[in-house]
Amino acid sequence: MELERTSVKILQCAKTYSDGTRGLLPSSLDVHPGEVLALLGPSGCGKTTLLRLIAGLEMVDRGGVIQFGQQDVTYLPVERRQIGMVFQHYALFPQMTVQANIGYGLRIRGASPQELKRVVGELLDLVQLNGLEHKRPAELSGGQRQRVALARAVAVRPKVLLLDEPLTALDAKLKVTLRDEMAELLRRLGITTIHVTHDQQEALAIADRLAVMRSGRIIQVGEGEALYRHPKHMFVAEFLGRINRLKRTPQDIANHTVTIAQATVRCPQGLWPELFVRPEDIELKPYDPHLPVATLLQRSFLGDRIHYRIDVAGQGILTAEAHRDSPYLAGDRVSFTIATEHFMPCENDQ
């Protein structure tokens, strides 16, 4: 089934609630045709507000513009925007079978029985619910219901699909399975999708690009891997994974270095008073007096990897992560290296 690929343009959109609360500060964002974009951030960051503005469930403050393709939808009510929605508490029609749920919108729009059968059949294939078409929602698992909801949402060929924390209500294991399933399904559908979540792993797994939000603002937009490796802002670095902070002296800044345990290490050029580095980018090595040295304080075996806490002169306690066969033990004197490209210079307004 071929779905429309519509771009979404958000131009200077803000939302002020009647009590004066600012749910969203003026924000702009481009979602490319057929792209899956995640709005990611902690609760209260404005991601749900932005989604509700795109859906037409809330009206944008004066001055903001929302476009689907060439069409200005800023003042269109929700039911005129041709969006598909799968919300956290999506509701299937309890009295209808799976196929009736999926085909309902088409039937109402006057699709012929043949077309209805064809489209519902294609969607059942796509979401792999063949054999369950005559079941009612109460007889399905959480994951199967989710897939029915998704199939129902796209059956009427919406311009844009909106997913609001679609996996939040599910248990952790099921969430991982469904996350991967949904990522694959959205690729197969090729529909422009905006996905709201507070779960960075879910965003990384499902979305092509992420818009990380905080306090009513979009902080950074980019591909998940790029944001993880090259965050521009400390908040993004920290929200997407764990980080260590390394302080720099004025001499360090002048020399493009950072001093770690009396060793001077080269780092990217820039006037950053701090640099950040991810635990997995601190590579522990056997003691070597020519390299930075640390005392290993704690070793935690996490199954697939080992988490270390190390005490580094001049920098305090850092965390490092290594493969599960990493041999170091608490009390060991160890050395470590950090590759130049793994230092992350970021803005920090906290």
Binding site: M59, Q82, Y90, G105, I108
Partner: protein, 274 residues
């Protein structure tokens, strides 16, 4: 946790200190209803007010209504009834932008998984209601664009005969049959919820259930004589609690306003108390 919303209707709020029908101070009753809503064990997501919010549609009445509703800790949505004036209502609630600037007060609201679609059944200067072709066409459009979710239609005048003669004379005199034909086409309409009658009444309507709700203050006397006198009575007041259940659909409860003796347990140590 299911989504809950409240239908509260026919408040008939007057200017502070003025009595409805020379007898009834409606505001304290609304305070009691608001309190009952706030004390529910599950917090509703929203309150839908299905018309007759004031008695004469005057600015001072709406100002008083606003004050009375202020303690609600969830959003509320307004619909006009035959005792209302949409212009005054819009002026008193300027932040309720869904009311629009002019024309019929018809809008859609997403209440969790349920989409609420409201209809304006009022006719200027008249007590009876009507749905003209324009309003029905708008509804059809809204229904066509809401096929992905369960729908509840809210309106003031019930589109059915209630057998209370004097109320049926000021019922939905135009458009009821067309509405029923339209509603019958959409099997995702869970309910048509109405006010106007100050009583709980349920009927089969199209392929769904249509109902009215009691009012927070006065009720219309239950008298099914076609020539029954137009009278009100202070029977127990109440409102509707509509809860969405993923496996059953919409489940509607009737809740009386006020505080009552109890609750007491049925069982002690796993056994029914003898």
């Amino acid at each position: 946790m299911s989504t809950l919303f409240i239908q509260l209707t026919d408040l008939h709020i007057r200017e502070p200190g003025r009595l409805a029908y020379g007898r009834l101070d409606t505001a304290p009753y609304l305070h009691r209803a608001v309190q009952t809503i706030e004390l529910l064990r599950q917090k509703p997501q929203a309150v839908v007010l299905t018309g007759d919010l004031t008695d004469f549609g005057r600015a001072a009445e709406y100002a008083h209504l606003r004050e009375c509703l202020a303690p609600l800790t969830m959003p509320y949505y307004l619909l006009p009834g035959n005792h209302d004036d949409a212009t005054q209502m819009r002026a008193a609630f300027p932040e309720h932008t869904y009311l629009g600037d002019s024309g019929f007060v018809q809008y859609t609201v997403q209440l969790g998984p349920v989409r609420l679609i409201t209809l304006d059944t009022t006719v200027a200067e008249q007590s009876h209601g009507a749905l003209c072709a324009e309003r029905l066409a708008w509804l059809e459009g809204a229904l066509n664009d809401s096929t992905e979710m369960p729908v509840v239609i809210a309106m003031h005048h019930p589109p059915f005969k209630t057998l209370i003669g004097h109320m049926d004379k000021i019922g939905l005199l135009q458009g009821a049959a067309a509405l029923e034909t339209l509603v019958a086409k959409y099997s995702n309409i869970e309910r048509v919820i109405c006010g106007h009658l100050h009583r709980a009444i349920d009927v089969r309507f199209g392929s769904t259930i249509a109902s009215t709700s009691p009012a927070p203050a006065h009720q219309v006397v239950l008298d099914l004589d076609p020539e029954a006198a137009s009278q009100w009575i202070l029977e127990p007041s109440g409102f509707k609690v509509h809860a969405w259940d993923a496996e059953r659909g919409l489940v509607s409860h009737l809740m009386p306003c006020g505080t009552f003796e109890g609750p007491y347990p049925f069982h002690d140590g796993g056994k029914l108390i003898d």
